[in-house]
């Protein structure tokens, strides 16, 4: 097949198709006329249309715009006439689309496709049809190929050139087909892979951190809250000159420019580098004023935990680390309430990581943390801390802690420990300041343990209130061991055993009770197990199992030796004596109620309880070892305690004492009970509890009671304002 005949065939087919298509369009003309009469009235449009028809669709022209006078018949006789089969063939697709396609259902599609294929096949193969097609436009038989073949340029004949052109065009056709195949491969077959990559590199799921809840004191004062701050980051990959950039930034943030530029250089490939997080507002302003190139840095909002009261109740509150996770105290123990639920959002980024838009449909909102209200009262806490600071300067102990508690409810009113830290500046804290000594430090309670044994003995009926004990003139041999009292006493009644804090008297009580009952007494008052306060780091104390006890223990336990307790355990036990005999686990959370874990148990009768505080414990303060705890306004009951410091190696260290004092008031219905434990007071001679701890405890108790009664007055005042009711 020669090039020219191939071209002619293709051209004929195209023209037939074009003619057919214009025929279809021609049916639209009346419709367009109806729609806009004026449009076709415009002479310009008319002439334009005629020109277009004449130029491009000359076949159409004869049927519509030729004058009627034109003798058409002769023209038609000369024009090749399409066969009827050809006419039918031509009209098929029109009918097909008009009548069938829109109504097709299911298998009809297959039939329709079959008839369509048949139509194409017929058009291609039917001999009569082919004749008709070739006749419909006269084939191009230009004379130029046949006439004068021997031109003066034999190598540039049309025929040889056309053959070469055909080869070259076929090459282009093959290339196009290959490219089309490649496009189908990329865009259809592998589309999923590419789409995933494309969306993966622009879509970014980002968590929206939840704002942690506040921590409030019992009257709603803020102890810990959260503010929004700006954190400063760089885009190291876009920074051309780390030195000059670093020196500018370093001057504002007081960094070492050398180290900073090294840091930028080390991560020069990365898109993100924190420089300083949670800036002060003034630092934000001064960084903005540097006018650094906009692409190379940015601020990101982050939450910063703020403790507006400073050091107040630092150990109770704990703090949040750089990633916003609670560590220590309420922050850790109530993390589930405070933390809230972080949300997330979908960001669309560009190649540089800049956010273009946020997809609102996929945003999960964050739910902020709930606040926690403590039973701590800031005013009482403040007084407690002041007193502890005074103790620290006066006696210079290694550590000291204090707890104030409402004995009836078990609510902690204040809890403080020294040394301490400022949660706003945790980086400045000393390494020994983290410990909350009220719950995480154990000590031998010493004499403060004695009332517990006595109360239990009375409750059990093993000793009597008026029982008299011979105190052996200060020396008493128990087996291989000789006990001493500070002063030599003769016979003392039970009250005086406690008031004088006689070790020999207590040893005799111990002999009356026996090891099993002593163990039961210690257990009943909660020694040796955690109280269950809602703080982290609480220790269970140390109460050896009964099987390890020996005859030695019978003398030691009643004096508060051979066992160790946390200050919180001791105050909880004494609260049971003060409140009518109910041991209640101390609590520090006022709200939400659900997170409050409190259990209670009647350990002694209210009679014993009342006798204990109104007789021996009151007299400890009025005439015994705790005279320094006397207050002007209140009758105070209390008990001193002095014990030698336990060494880590076992045994006791001589000359180092744990001095403690527990006191409460008023006697008829105690409203507060206070414990002060002073560890290793280093000045002022022997550190008796009555000398070192009692004045401090009394001071705290005084402030606590005053503050509580002030609250009472306020609570009562509306009634006074309306005497008519």
């Amino acid at each position: 097949m020669s090039f020219s005949s191939l071209i002619a065939r293709i051209r004929n087919t195209c023209q037939n198709w074009l003619f057919h298509a214009t025929n279809r369009w021609s049916q639209l003309w009346p419709f367009i006329h109806q729609l806009s009469d004026c449009w076709s009235q415009i002479p310009l449009v008319q002439s334009l249309r005629r020109t277009i028809i004449q130029r491009w669709f000359p076949k159409y022209e004869t049927s519509s715009s030729e004058p009627a006078t034109q003798p058409l018949s002769s023209t038609e006789s000369l024009q090749p006439q399409p066969t009827p089969e050809y006419r039918e063939w031509l009209s098929f697709p029109g009918r097909f689309w008009k009548e069938s396609v829109l109504k097709l259902r299911g298998a009809q599609w297959i039939l329709a496709a079959g008839s369509m294929a048949r139509w194409i096949w017929k058009g291609c193969t039917s001999n009569r049809m082919r004749q008709a097609m070739e006749l419909s436009t006269e084939p191009l038989t230009s004379p130029r190929d046949s006439v004068n073949p021997a031109a003066s340029y034999p190598w540039l004949t049309s025929r040889s050139m056309e053959q070469r052109m055909l080869i070259a065009s076929l090459g282009a056709l093959v290339v196009s087909v290959v490219l089309a195949g490649r496009l189908i491969q990329l865009q259809v077959l592998e589309q999923d892979d590419f789409s995933r990559t494309a969306s993966g590199q622009r879509i970014f799921r980002q968590t929206v951190p939840a704002r942690p809840g506040d921590i409030l004191d019992s009257s709603g004062r803020i102890l810990a809250t959260t503010v929004t701050t700006q954190s400063f980051y760089l885009v190291p990959s876009l920074i051309d000159e780390p030195e000059s950039f670093a020196s500018k930034v370093a001057s504002v943030l007081q960094f070492d420019p050398q180290k900073l530029s090294q840091k930028i250089r080390n991560s020069s490939k990365s898109q993100f580098l924190w420089i300083k997080r949670r800036l002060d507002p003034s630092e934000v302003i001064s960084i903005r004023e540097l006018k650094l190139p906009r692409d190379q840095w940015g601020f990101r909002e982050e939450y910063r935990r703020v403790y507006p009261q400073g050091q107040i109740a630092a150990h109770v509150l704990g703090l949040r680390n750089i990633d916003g996770i609670g560590q220590g105290g309420i922050e850790e123990s109530q993390e589930s309430i405070l933390a809230g639920q972080p949300g997330s959002e979908t960001l669309l980024r560009d190649a540089r990581g800049r956010v273009l838009e946020i997809d609102p449909t996929s945003t999960l909102p964050m739910s902020p943390g709930e606040s926690v209200t403590l039973t701590i009262d800031t005013v009482i806490q403040l007084q407690t801390e002041r007193v502890l600071d005074e103790v620290m300067t006066q006696w210079q102990p290694s550590s000291v802690c204090a707890i104030a508690m409402d004995p009836h409810t078990g609510e902690i009113l204040s809890m403080a420990s020294r040394p301490t830290f400022d949660p706003n500046q945790p980086e400045l804290a000393a390494s020994d300041s983290w410990k909350n000594r009220a719950i995480s430090d154990i000590y031998e309670p010493g004499s403060t343990f004695k009332p517990l044994i006595v109360a239990y003995g009375l409750e059990a009926g093993l000793i009597q209130k008026d029982q008299v004990f011979d105190c052996e003139r200060g020396q008493y041999r128990m087996g291989r061991r000789v006990l001493h009292d500070t002063y030599a006493y003769g016979s003392l009644n039970l009250t005086d055993v406690l008031v004088k804090s006689s070790n020999i008297g207590m040893a005799k009580v111990g002999e009356l009770l026996g090891n099993a009952e002593l163990f039961e007494a210690a257990q009943r008052f909660g020694i040796g197990r955690r109280t269950g306060i809602e703080l982290t780091g609480e220790l269970p104390g140390l109460l050896r199992p009964l099987s390890q006890w020996n005859s030695y223990s019978t003398g030691s336990i009643p004096m508060g030796h051979e066992l160790a307790a946390t200050p919180l355990q001791m105050i909880a036990a004494h609260a049971a004596i003060a409140n009518g005999g109910v041991w209640r686990s101390p609590t520090i959370i006022k709200a939400p109620r659900e997170s409050r874990t409190q259990v209670s148990q009647q350990v002694i009768s209210s009679d014993v309880s009342r006798w204990m505080i109104s007789e021996p414990l009151r007299e400890v303060v009025t005439r015994g070892t705790g005279k320094k705890a006397q207050l002007d306004d209140y009758e105070v009951f209390g008990k001193t305690g002095t014990a030698q410091v336990l060494l880590a190696s076992g045994g006791y260290s001589h000359g180092k004492y744990v001095s403690s004092f527990i006191c409460g008031a008023p006697i008829d219905k105690p409203r507060a009970i206070v414990l002060v434990v002073v560890n290793e007071a280093s000045v002022g001679g022997e550190a008796f509890g009555g000398k070192v701890a009692a004045p401090a405890a009394a001071e705290i108790l005084k402030h606590t009671l005053r503050h509580l009664s002030k609250d009472l007055r306020w609570a009562a005042s509306p009634a006074k304002n309306h005497p008519s009711r």
Binding site: S4, I7, R11, Q54, R55, W56, P58, Q70, P71, S74, T75, E138, L140, S142, P143, R144, V147, N148, A151, S152, Y153, P154, W155, L156, T157, S158, M161, E162, R164, M165, A168, S169, A172, L173, V175, S176, V178, L179, A180, R182, L183, I184, L186, Q187, V188, E190, Q191, D193, F194, S195, T197, A198, S199, Q201, R202, L348, D350, A351, R354, L356
Partner: protein, 406 residues
């Protein structure tokens, strides 16, 4: 076109279109469709360039590119109009001078201070605020000259001779092409050099250079393939990077990878014109060399295949144009047919080459999509070569007297 009928002679039958008349109307039709297809391509490019110039942050850059592109189109259309109006004879006669001018420009571009150095290559001349790429002009001038030169072969010879080809009459046939290609290779611009070489080969092939010469050329390519070792570092990296792409597209160089991702994520119908994300920042040169990938993302397979079909139609109607131009009777038209076939094939070939680069079928090469890519010398040169095709294939005159049927 119907012939005028004189009413005074009623016995004269209404004219039936004669062969030549029919031919003339068909030529008219072909030329119109050819121009219309070029216009379609231009318009298509205008849309896509505007869409591909959009940036991630709201800026006026897309407007700037649009107005630049429109300016280039306007300039190019004027140039193309002039080129189409110049008679074919003048083009053929001016061919040597055009080639000389291009050679001078190619020398100028190599001189530091005149040529602009971008990314280590001197390819641009800055003239009155506009940059011009002389190697683009060489794409027109070289095939035109070679075609004209072949027509000046000794007519007494009945067949090609090697000596005639090499030393020949006045100027050896192969000398100027090698000078031009050498100058382009010095810029350095390996891609355009190969493109020009391909153009010259196509001209010789179409003009009927015996196939055995091509066979010899192929044999001589074997030692030339050792020249791979002479390639510069960045050229080698391009080729190795390309080879890696075949096994795993994720290993491809960044731009190629993004090009494939852009193209592939379009699917059947694409994400819609102007809605693509890749062009915003991930795909470099989104509105110039890789505009085809943007078409793929925004208009999908429908868009890319339509563009391919548009180019195919342009090629087909261009062939029609060349075929219908009389040759033997007017030998100067044969030169025109040869030159316009080469110009047409170069134009379509560049489009196919661009698609092949974007789809990672051939090693990456900075090649723009004619009539589609934003602005630049290439747009003007493409339009001028369209004008030249129209000029070189023009029928000078149709026979004055209608041949009436007997």
């Amino acid at each position: 076109m119907s012939t005028a009928i004189s009413p005074e002679i009623p016995e004269l039958k209404p004219s039936v279109p004669t062969c030549d008349e029919k031919l003339a109307s068909q030529i008219e039709f072909t030329r119109t469709v050819f121009v219309a297809l070029a216009g379609l391509l231009l318009g298509f490019g205008l849309f896509v360039v505007h869409s591909a110039s959009v940036t991630s942050r709201p800026t006026e850059i897309d407007q700037v590119y649009l107005s630049k592109h429109l300016t280039f189109i306007a300039l190019g259309l004027v140039a193309a109009g002039i080129a189409a109006a110049i008679p074919a004879k003048i083009w053929v006669r001016a061919a040597p001078w055009l080639l000389l001018g291009v050679m001078i420009l190619l020398v100028l571009v190599l001189i530091p201070g005149i040529g602009v150095r971008v990314k280590g290559a001197r390819r641009w001349l800055r003239l009155a605020g506009m940059t011009l790429q002389p190697s683009e002009l060489a794409k027109i001038a070289l095939p035109l000259w070679v075609a004209a030169r072949i027509s000046l072969q000794n007519p007494a010879l009945s067949r090609w001779s090697l000596s005639e080809t090499l030393t020949g009459f006045r100027v050896p046939l192969l000398l100027p092409p090698f000078i031009v290609m050498g100058l382009v290779a010095l810029q350095p611009d390996l891609g355009t050099t190969l493109f020009l070489f391909g153009g010259v080969l196509l001209t010789l092939f179409t003009a009927g250079l015996p196939l055995r010469y091509f066979g010899w050329g192929l044999v001589s390519l074997i030692p030339a393939s050792l020249g791979v070792f002479l390639l510069k570092d960045y050229q080698l990296r391009r080729i190795t990077g390309f080879l890696e792409t075949w096994s795993d597209w994720r290993e491809a160089p960044y731009q190629l990878k993004q090009s494939l991702v852009t193209l592939g994520s379009g699917g059947w119908t694409g994400v819609g014109l102007g809605m693509g994300y890749q062009k915003l920042s991930f795909l470099p040169e989104a509105n110039t060399d890789f505009v085809f990938a943007v078409i793929g993302e925004e208009l999908g397979l429908v868009g890319t295949l339509s563009l391919l079909i548009l180019w195919g139609s342009l090629f087909y109607f261009g062939l029609q144009l060349i075929r219908q131009a009389g040759g033997v009777e007017r030998p100067e038209l044969n030169v025109g047919r040869l030159a316009s076939f080469v110009l047409l094939t170069q134009l379509v070939g560049q489009a196919l080459l661009n698609i092949a680069v974007v789809t990672a079928m051939v090693p990456p090469k900075g090649i723009s999509h004619p009539l589609i890519s934003a602005g630049g010398s290439n747009l003007i040169v493409s339009l001028v070569s369209m004008g030249m095709i129209l000029s070189l294939t023009r029928q000078s005159k149709s026979p004055e007297t209608p041949v009436l049927p007997a």
